[in-house]
């Protein structure tokens, strides 16, 4: 059966598969990517650099970080990824300049970007070896960059979030970020195991962050995708007083979790926070993402991202810009 119906060598077969993949890739991008404001206009490249941290220590998959969260737990982290879109620079006069994200396979598809801090080593064995600490894109050459603010949205745009995961291109093809039971994607994924600081023998407790849209339902019987989500849970991040092309943006899980207790999980809820509105463990976490949650603070303010200024002349303080 195999001989008569398929005579090509495996190599040729793989090559054809790859070619087809490439052929499928392009039209998807053409359809999904944000249109460039003006293709005739000269554009200049910009890039924004991120750095994963846990309080004062650089993130990695091997370290057990001490003093995390309200109970100052010891924490091993086995995943640390997120999606970002809708990047905007604001100049000194308040003018907003949208950044067109590059197509940079596999991290960016022109509209959605993934930041990936895990490298598949240590505790992160379910991850991917490659990391991505940068957003890259372009702005009009004419934009005069004296910037006061960088904005972006943590999450996946609505149409893409509910697009068919079996055909979406990377970075939306990474199954570790699929959130199919909610017909969408995890906007951010941080998997952790926590132990009390004063016990070397206590069994680690799982505490995971799966951020995504919840309460999603189709509005009509014939609809195949959600048309509304009661809780979109996309966090708009605004970083002021930044020289975005020079400063590094710290992504600090220690700050994010400062108000959460990683040694406690409310009974009959997901381990940690999987974004349920009914899960009290999500309250402090959502607060630190700047998101409203029934169990969270009334005036949430994001703490995950902050600007780490880099003074090119003295190495201390912050240069005006």
């Amino acid at each position: 059966m195999t001989q008569h119906s398929y005579s090509n060598s495996p190599v040729r077969w793989f090559a054809r598969a790859a070619l087809l993949g490439a052929a499928l890739w392009t039209p998807l991008h053409a359809a999904e990517a944000q249109p460039r404001a003006d293709d005739s206009q000269a554009r200049r490249a910009v890039a924004f650099n991120f750095r994963g941290m846990v309080n004062d220590a650089p993130f990695n998959c091997a370290t057990t970080f001490a003093g995390v969260g309200r109970s100052r737990a010891n924490v091993r982290i086995s995943d640390f990824r997120m999606y970002v879109h809708d990047v905007t620079l604001v100049d000194a006069s308040g003018a907003r300049v949208p950044v067109t994200l590059d197509v940079a396979e596999p991290w960016q598809d022109g509209q959605v970007a993934m930041l990936d801090f895990e490298d598949a080593t240590g505790a992160c064995s379910n991850g991917t070896p490659d990391v991505r600490h940068q957003l890259s894109g372009t702005i009009p050459e004419s934009a005069q960059g004296s910037w006061q603010r960088l904005e972006f949205t943590l999450g996946v745009p609505f149409e893409r979030n509910h697009g068919d995961p079996t055909v979406q291109p990377s970075p939306l093809s990474q199954t570790r970020l699929f959130w199919s039971w909610n017909a969408g994607y995890k906007f951010m994924r941080v998997d952790m195991r926590a132990t009390p600081a004063d016990s070397a023998t206590a069994a680690p407790k799982s505490w995971v962050i799966h951020l995504g849209s919840t309460g999603c339902t189709p509005s009509g019987g014939a609809s195949v995708v959600p048309t509304t989500c009661a809780n979109p849970n996309r966090a708009r991040i605004a970083l002021d007083a930044i020289n975005p092309l020079r400063d590094t943006i710290t992504v600090d899980l220690g700050a994010l979790l400062a108000d959460s207790d990683l040694l406690v999980n409310t009974e009959k809820t997901a381990a940690g926070c999987m974004s349920a509105g009914t899960d009290p463990d999500c309250g402090p976490l959502f607060g630190s993402l700047g998101l409203v949650h029934p169990s969270g603070p009334e005036t949430p303010a994001q703490k995950l991202f902050r600007v780490q200024r880099r003074d090119v002349t003295s190495g201390s303080g912050s240069a005006p810009h």
Partner: protein
């Protein structure tokens, strides 16, 4: 591509196995539908073909489709149990206990809403990504392992042939889209409509017992209201097909629980509420098909009722009372309960008549049809008999 001799052998096998499909080329499909069954709706992006169904069958039964190499779709969807698994709650590849019970896949092609209580799950292709990649709970455990999966499938010479035939316009490419489309096509082919009751309705007056005939009358009576949620040729209110105009999707609270006196169901099985977070959706679940119901015990979304006899007790009481423990409560007083759960009384004979009717819905040909059976040779790695390995 095909020599005459080869083609003849394919046709010959198909004559034995495929009935009316015998003369359909592998890139075509002819539905072989029981009397009274309309044509299923098929997504535009995944037309049926005999080759695609055959590929999907291989994938459905392939134990390499899991993190352990020993677990497949069929581990929780066994043909002899109408593609359910006989457990109160299913167990995934890594041993994790699922919150819910495996559902029968019989006539799933007609279901516009999939799984127990998730209004966002509308087509089989996308739904397949839940058991494949879901992590809460882990079912097949493939999250983050898609490249390994594609490599295993691509390396199997049999799959090379199957993919080439199933997806000739796409050069037989192995990716998540072709894999899920093939599995979806196979699932749509799982048509069950040859029960004794079907033969009875087609004129074979002796196909079911006199008791079952009396049970039929009770089933379709306003006294029991069974048919309101389990009506139509699929015996479920959630149904769609060609010519229907619009799909019907129904979820009902049947008063199984009332843990807080306010209608609460035990987490995480709060029904549609788990997805929608709408308080009014508390405890709303899809009415499963009653076809083959006698072989799909235990019952309810969490397998919490062992027998059909006890299921009838629950409905007769207009809801279940759990006397003690964390789930204690009077389900009959659940404020979200369906209006059709009004309770009724049955004599012992009426009860056995109803059960005789439900048993007459078992389609033994469906449970043994070789078209739906495991296609892999007993010694093949796809059987999952090899030492533990697979996608790690």
């Amino acid at each position: 591509m095909h020599t005459p001799a080869r083609w003849f052998s394919v046709v010959a096998v198909c004559v034995l196995a495929c009935g009316v499909l015998a003369f359909a080329p592998h890139n075509e499909w002819t539905w072989s539908l029981p009397a009274g069954f309309p044509e299923p709706k098929v997504p535009a992006g995944n037309p049926m073909s005999a080759a695609k169904v055959e590929l999907g069958r291989h994938l459905f039964y392939d134990a390499r489709m899991s993190v352990t190499g020993r677990f497949s779709c069929a581990s929780c969807h066994k043909q002899e149990l109408a593609f359910s698994d006989g457990l109160a709650r299913s167990v995934g590849a890594t041993g994790e206990l699922h919150p819910r019970s495996s559902m029968s896949l019989a006539n799933i092609a007609y279901s516009p809403a999939l799984t127990w209580a998730n209004p966002t799950q509308r087509d089989l292709e996308r739904q397949a990504t839940v058991p494949m990649f879901g992590e809460d709970p882990i079912e097949l455990g493939l999250s983050g392992r898609e490249r390994e999966l594609f490599a295993i499938v691509s390396a199997d010479p049999q799959y090379r042939a199957l993919f080439a035939r199933a997806f000739p316009g796409e050069s037989g490419v192995v990716n998540l889209s072709t894999i899920t489309r093939a599995i979806g096509a196979f699932q749509r082919s799982l048509i069950s409509g040859n029960s004794p009751y079907d033969r009875y309705k087609s004129g074979a007056r002796n196909a079911i017992s006199a008791s079952a005939v009396r049970g039929e009358a009770l089933f379709f009576d306003e006294k029991t209201e069974c048919f309101h949620c389990h009506g139509g040729f699929t015996f479920t209110g959630t149904v769609d097909h060609v010519g229907k105009g619009f799909p019907e999707v129904e979820f009902h609270n049947t008063g199984l629980y009332n843990v807080d006196g306010k209608g609460g169901y035990p987490a995480p099985n709060t029904g549609v509420h788990e997805v929608s977070e709408d308080p009014d959706d508390m405890g709303r679940f899809k009415a499963p098909t009653l076809r083959n119901i006698a072989v799909t015990a235990p019952y309810m979304h969490d397998g919490s009722i062992a027998t059909l006899d006890e299921v009838l007790d629950h409905y007769a009481a207009g809801g279940r009372t759990v006397k003690s423990g964390p789930n204690a409560g009077v389900g009959a007083e659940n404020p979200y309960k369906s209006e059709f759960l009004k309770g009724f009384t049955l004599t012992a004979r009426e009860k056995s008549d109803l059960i005789a009717f439900l048993r007459s819905l078992t389609d033994s040909t469906f449970l043994t049809d070789t078209r739906y059976a495991n296609p892999w040779p007993a010694t093949h790695a796809a059987r999952g008999n090899a030492p533990p390995r697979g996608i790690r």
